[in-house]
Amino acid sequence: MQKLHKNESGAVALLMLASAMILFMCGLIMYDAGVVIRDKIDVNVAADTAAYSQASVEARSMNMIAFANVGKRTIVGIHNMYYFQYPFYAIWWAGQCSRCCCGWYCGCWTECFNCFGNLIDGSPFMELFDWLAFLGDDDLEKNLEDLDDFQDDLRKYAAYWGLGESMTRGARNGANMILGYPPPDNSTYGPLPLAHGPASESCLTPNPLASNPVTAVTLIEWAANFFDLKRRSTSSPNIASEGPAERVNILYSFLACPLMTPSKGAPFFNEASSNSGEDMLKRSNYVYAYRVAGDLDGILKDNYQIMPGEYTPPAGVTMPRGGVWSMSRSEFYFPPENKPSTILLSGAHDTWMFHPGWYGKIRPLTLPDEKPPVEHTTMFNDATVLGSALALSLFNMSGDPEFDFGRFTNDLIYMRTNVTPGMTGTVENHHITDGMAK
């Protein structure tokens, strides 16, 4: 026994065996880390592309609504011009006739010519018929209603469109599930944050000019549209482009604005232009991407039995066991440099809804001191309802050979109980993380 105790043979073998085991474990750790990292890259890209694509769709919708705003302005201008045109023409014609004087002592031959010339060609009567027909069948107002319907539809519809795009893109890029907040049917944060402005914003009355100086650009825009329309007009003759009325057509439109502008001609304006947490949530989307990654719990822990037990929160939920999570957030954005150069002044609608300058971008999950009006846990829960159902059905997540419902459920609870409550970034009212770090 004493001899055995003193025997040193095999000492190096034991040492090298231990070394080899450590090396082997290093290899396993590297392999496991590689597996997780590759999945993590995929799910990161999935989250970012899903969020960016969603914001792209929404920005695109904002631009289409801005286009429609310009269309409304033009139609309002034409509408008001024609409503006022004939009465003013009649007043002008009557004035010409009243000043007609054909004696040698008169210098008013022009007035006589205008009076009888118009009478002979029947313009006062024919234009009256036109005008009455126009009043009785005002398609311009119908067009304004149609445009308004289109804008309101798209305002609500963009949320579905964007989420559909987000899910497609996320799934294509390696996620098995894309959860998005706000859900499209959330009436506060789902639709695009747009609301009707005053109808007077579609015309050129002094009122909007006084209350909103940026409307000054309307004069330029409207004049460009008006002259373009007139130049393109194919009828000849027409009172829009010929005769004395031409000189005052813009004035007619201007004068008629307070009286004639239909309520449906009101443009849609951005309601969420501030940087409050409330407004930022209305302009942005949270995306939670999940990728099934096999038995992570087994891979990461069971390979190294000598490792101590991992951190286990009181709820008993472990770290992600069946997949990898990633998050991203995007917003649609109107950069100041996209304002038309003709806008020299800033005003109430600085995020210009008469110009297609909106685009999408990735943004930090939470900005320093940002206070979202909805708890992160609530957002995640709301997003899970639609997203998980679609992942299990449309994207066939459960068909993945590595999918395990128990581990998947664990991972959902992990996000709900361990991750999202900490996303406020505060501990005892002190900020612990800022910006992208979150």
Binding site: E221, S233, G357
Partner: protein, 255 residues
Amino acid sequence: MSNRFLRKFCASEDAAVITEFVILLPVFVITFVAIVNLNKLEVAGSRVKFVAATQMWDDAMAIHDNDLPSIPPLSRGLPQLAGANSLSAISNHASPQGDMPAQIKNVGLVAGGSRLEAAGAGVWAGGGTTAYSAGSDFAEDMIKDTTINPLSFTTSWPLFVFNVAVPYSYVGTRQASALGTRYGLVTGESSRSVTAGNYGTVNMDATYDVLVSPTSVGGSFVNQLIISGFSRLAAEDSPCLNSVLKLSNDGDYGC
């Protein structure tokens, strides 16, 4: 003699360490080489993903940062064309999942432009009502970007897609495909082969795609003219507005 030698040999502790070392060295070396090869594979696997993702974002940002003339119309100009390109891109670069829903979505984009795509997205996002169902011709016309606008043929640069000739000037003048609403998928991809010992040669590849954001639109005078162009086309295309433009003595205001 031999027995004595054998006993002595067995009792001898000379060179015991070197013997053990020789026995274990191959194990040690094999483990070490395996780790190196594993590292090569891991780095390559992550690298292809990184390169593909970087290429995709670089492309997307280049489109975002450039102005209208720099956008290749064939790949990003019209929703139809973008849809066709997306179909092709997805067919050629399969992803682990999500191909079929994406193809269904893109077929809608090719067939019906933005309108059908929007309707389709609403359906498979699990809810929502179908917009544009009120029978509003003018509202539909706002996003009907799959028909030819017979006006403003200012160039002779036709694009032939599905036997439909689309003038180059069409890009940017028609509402839905015009400035700020253009549509397009950007793809990034990377692949490489790695030879790593007993693992042999492993082929690795990665493909990602993203929907580009509307291009940044500067406030130039040209861009404002394009907006005016929209208004003009809205008026010219609408039977109602067109009849107003032709205001004359014929009294025809039918839509």
